[in-house]
Structures are given as structure tokens and as C-alpha cells.
Symmetry: C2
Subunit: 364 residues, 2 copies
Amino acid sequence: MKELKVELGERSYSIFIGKDLISSPKLFAKVIASSQVMIISNTTIASLYLENLLQTLAEFRPISYVIEDGETHKNLTVMNSIVTQLLENKFSRNCTLIALGGGVVGDITGFAAACYQRGVNYIQVPTTLLAQVDSSVGGKTAVNHALGKNMIGAFHQPQAVFSDSNVLTTLPERELSAGLAEVIKYGLIRDSEFFSWLEANMTGLTARDDESLQYAIERSCQNKALVVADDEKEKGQRALLNFGHTFAHAIETGLGYGSWLHGEAVGLGMLMAADLSYRSGWISENDLERVRNIVVIAGLPLMLPQELMNTNIRELMSVDKKAKDGELFLVLLNGIGNAVVTKDFDEKLLQLTLEEFSMMDGMS
Amino acid sequence: MKELKVELGERSYSIFIGKDLISSPKLFAKVIASSQVMIISNTTIASLYLENLLQTLAEFRPISYVIEDGETHKNLTVMNSIVTQLLENKFSRNCTLIALGGGVVGDITGFAAACYQRGVNYIQVPTTLLAQVDSSVGGKTAVNHALGKNMIGAFHQPQAVFSDSNVLTTLPERELSAGLAEVIKYGLIRDSEFFSWLEANMTGLTARDDESLQYAIERSCQNKALVVADDEKEKGQRALLNFGHTFAHAIETGLGYGSWLHGEAVGLGMLMAADLSYRSGWISENDLERVRNIVVIAGLPLMLPQELMNTNIRELMSVDKKAKDGELFLVLLNGIGNAVVTKDFDEKLLQLTLEEFSMMDGMS
């Protein structure tokens, strides 16, 4: 088992990465400070792992609350129902919430923990690769609003993150690929050595080699932890983590959430950002090919979906949260392992990139 | 005009106290960092002061959103509708919300600001004495849940507080008395000199003498600012600010919110806490009389309401947020100007106090 520290002063915490962590009572006992514990999960994950975690935590006599699976349930109504459970069970400010699930469960549990009695402890037990390498680390919590994703939320750091590689054995293939998109991202934006390692090991990762997965999770979390420690509230370099995301959000908005997985949209978004970087003369054709190759091997989409043929993607990009006073900022590559936030891109080149990826049906 | 600084590191801000502040464009311009400004108010206050504030802020072309008046509207649904307004008007992370109203408007606006895109700026323009001396200072924000008051919230500090003494001229008499209860509280818990000043000036305060009111606001905010600066997240001495509040919450819960004003319940709660302190041998009979006298002059209730004759107040006290694992902690007096948090009180004496205030109809 590996332990990584996210350094945030008095809000510091550890990420534990290893096999069968959710069957280790001692690990949890170290970070749970109170006797009131509630596990929040969704229907899919609960059927696979809830019983196991309840047994692991038996000494705390935890209660559990299972929400419906899916992004549409990440809303204020469900958050309110979590609070109802907490109040009906007389949970005090010293209680601990545990998020057992992917990004949706983690985000809404974290937000409920941020708001319940103005803030209680919570622990992340991410069960998707994407949540393990991205959303469970960094303290961003939120629910969706009818008019925008993640528009109601808080920065609230967990007490610990337990990333159990064993739960990835039951992860659907598309979700594995989606997680790998965020793994690739860390290589591209700030860790060229890791990117090279990924080029050599991507086949092992898609085959779910446990050792490779653990290393990829660890190195991804290391990268994210360093960025977050530098910029907890996203005022500067944390924005680099949004590499590929402005394109991705436009795709997701255009399709409606849920058609593509977030990581799938990010995978294509990164390729599109790399394409624009190449057209802008910032990276070589060879670098662009390296990005394309790894996206291919990870099993991610290479083209925009047919349904968006007649959609103005450029317009959808403008409503992104990163747009300030109407100006669009993009994260582009200045070489592999070196991303920059910029508004100095050529609109005509962006148009060429959008056309390049609009030619035919997109799922690889 | 007086300016008080609340010292909270990078979250420090100023409280401005004076006459006609809401007609001073320059004051607001100093603390508003962006061009997107939304004023949130309620129907009662909007009819009195919204036009005035809109004119003062004309250079920012602010928009406004008016919510229904009353504690029952401090909920997630109304908070969500504020977010809808923000999104429909394309408000970015750099926007500023302005709370123009009493505690309800301040709490819900502050919470919306805490959550919108994970945190935006807000300014408090409290229009009741209670909000000016208490809820607008310290960054506690919240909405109510059906099962409990202020159960969903955040600590989120404003950019500034503008306490305009002029708005107190239109404040209903009961609300003035309710605000004075919290003013008296500061004297009792940590500022005996201020308590003596209040004994000499309470008649002037109830007659709304502007100079006296400004001084009382300033001294109250000074006291609160010092407590908050020491203990922003309520882990220790900030609990002293809850003097009288465990009794008050029991009264409010028993009656249903809205029958008594919060400050009225606090006024009687302080007297009851003083009574228990006297019975416990911690303060003299003379001190208890001083507390009773000032509560009388402030126009606050002296007895529990008839409707609670058959209610078990002691039981209602146990569900207070300050109860930890079933144990009840109370804030009691160890002399005027010296409050302590304790669980070492005699249950029999508490019972005598409860009986003492249950003899007849309560409104003075």
C-alpha cells in the first residue's frame, strides 16, 4: 500500500492506494474520529461493495444511504435527502460521511459534508478509476443546477481517500478508458516522464494489470496533489487541470450529459487541444501523433459524434466557467508535459480544429 | 463613520457603521471588485430601501432579486432560485452579491455566495439591529431544513458589512428590542464596562437616539469581531456567543419559529441563564437583578409564554446543536462580563429555573 500526503496546512490528508483497502478495518479506524458514521453509495456500487464496507466498519455501527445511480441525481433535492437522513439519525457535528462510489457519489457526499451543520468530516472511497485519479482528490464538491453542471458547491477537503485497486476489476470497459483519459492528462500537462511511462504501459493498463494500475493512480494523484497544494481554490495553476475540458464541456452540453462519459469527452478534448496546439506551432507533428496514439490505445473516441454535426461547438465553448467576461481561455500544450492557460489562440485555427474532428462518426 | 476590522488573515474585512451609508456610492465602490452585482432583499425591505441602493450602485448597473419576507423562506428552494437568477444573468465567479435585509436575507445570500460556483464575493447591508450587531458579522451563513434551523450552511466571510443606523428609524419596536437582546449579551459575556454603559443608556437606545445606537452597534461588533477572529469555525470560545441561546432555541422550537422573534427568545434565555447562574452560586442576587432590570427596560419578555405551560422545555434543550453525545452544555455567568461554557450544572437547579419562568403569561 502507498500513502500520499496532500499538503494543505491544517486541512492536509492522505491518499491511500492499494489492494483490498475497503476490507481493512484498521485503516479506517485511524481516520474516523467519531462514532457516528454514514456511508453514502449508489444502487450499482452498493450491490457490489456496500456489504463489504459495512462489515469493515462494524465497530462504528455505520448506517448507509443509497442514492440512484447517475449524474442527474447529483442535485440539491438528493443532497437535501441526505441531510434528512443525518438529522433523523441525530448526527452531530462530529459525524463522518463516507462516499462509496464514483464522481457523482463523491461530489454530492462531499457537498453534503461541506454544508451539514456548516461542515463535517468525510472520507472518499472512489470506485471508478476516474474518481480515484481525479475527483476524489482536491476537495472540489458540488451538485448540478438545471442550468449548469457543478454550479452549486464548495471546496471541502476529505479526511482521507482510500483508492482500492481491487474495485477496478468490476469497472465497465468504457469507464476504465474514461479514467485513463484523466491519467493521460497528468502526463500531458506537467509530467513528460510519466507520459513516456504511459506510452510503454497503456496496453497493460487497459488489460487491468494491478501493479500498473496502482502506479498510474499513485503518479496521477501525486501530480494532482502538487497542483492542488499550490492552488487550493483554483486561482491560478489549478486551471491547468482543465486541459481538454473546455472542448469536453462543449461536447457534453451539446449531447446532453450522460451520452458520453466525462472521461470520454475529456479524451477527445485533449486530442483537440493538442491539435490546436500543433496548428498554432506550439508542438511538433510528432508530439501530436504521440497524443493521438495513446488516446487510441486507451480506447477513447477520436472524433466528434454524428449528433453534433450541426451544432456550433465554438458557441458552446464560450459558456464554459473558464470564460471570463466573454473571453475564452484555453489550456494548450507548449510541448508534452507543459501546458499553459492562454487566450492568445487564433480563432481561425480553432475553427480548423473543430472541422478536423467533425468529419465522421466519433466513437472509436 | 466608524470602520472596524475583523481580523481573519486573507479573509479579513471591515464593518462600516454610520448614518446614510447606503446612499454613499464611494463606500461601495471601494469593496466591489467586479461589474456583475446582484442585490438580494425581501419584499418589506425592498419597498423601503431597494430603490435607494440601486441608485447608489448605479455605476455597476446592478440587478436585484426580491424574496418573500420571513424565516420560512430561508430554505434550499429559495437558495436555488437565487442561483437560477445568477445563471440566467450569466454571472461569473467574479460577481458580487449584496444582502439588503435582516438575518434571513443575510444568511441565505451569504450561503448562496458560499456555494455559487464554489464561492463568490458578497456584502452585508443589514437592516435590523439584530443583524447589524450579530448575524452580519462572523461569516456564518445557512438555510433551514424541515427538521432543523440553520442545518445546511457554510462559513463564508463577506467582503464588507455596511451598518447604516438610519435604517433603524423604520424598524418595528419589537425588532428593536430583539436586537437589544444581542447587544446586552456582549456586555454580559465579556464586557462589563459596556454592560454598565448599557445600564446608563438603555432608555436612549429604546428611544432610538442615533449616537447611542451607533455606539452600541460599534461596541457590539468589536466584541463579536474579537471572538470570531479568535475562533472562526466555532471550535472554542465562539460558543460563548450562544449565551441564552439554548433556552431560546427550546422556546422557539416549542412555539414554532416566528411566534417570538429570535432576539425576544434570547432576551428571556439570558435572564434564565442568569437565574441558573445565581441559583448555582456563581453570581450575586444583585447581579441577577441588574440582568432583570436591563431586560425589562429593553422591552423584552420576562416569562415563558402560556402556550408552553405543558411543554417539557428541558427535553427541547437536549436537541440543541451544542449538545454533544446527549450531554447538554450551557453558557452560564461567572459574574457580569464573564461567561463560561459548562456541563457542570445541577439538573435540580435547572428545573427550578424552568419553573420560575413558567408561572404566568410571558410577554412583558
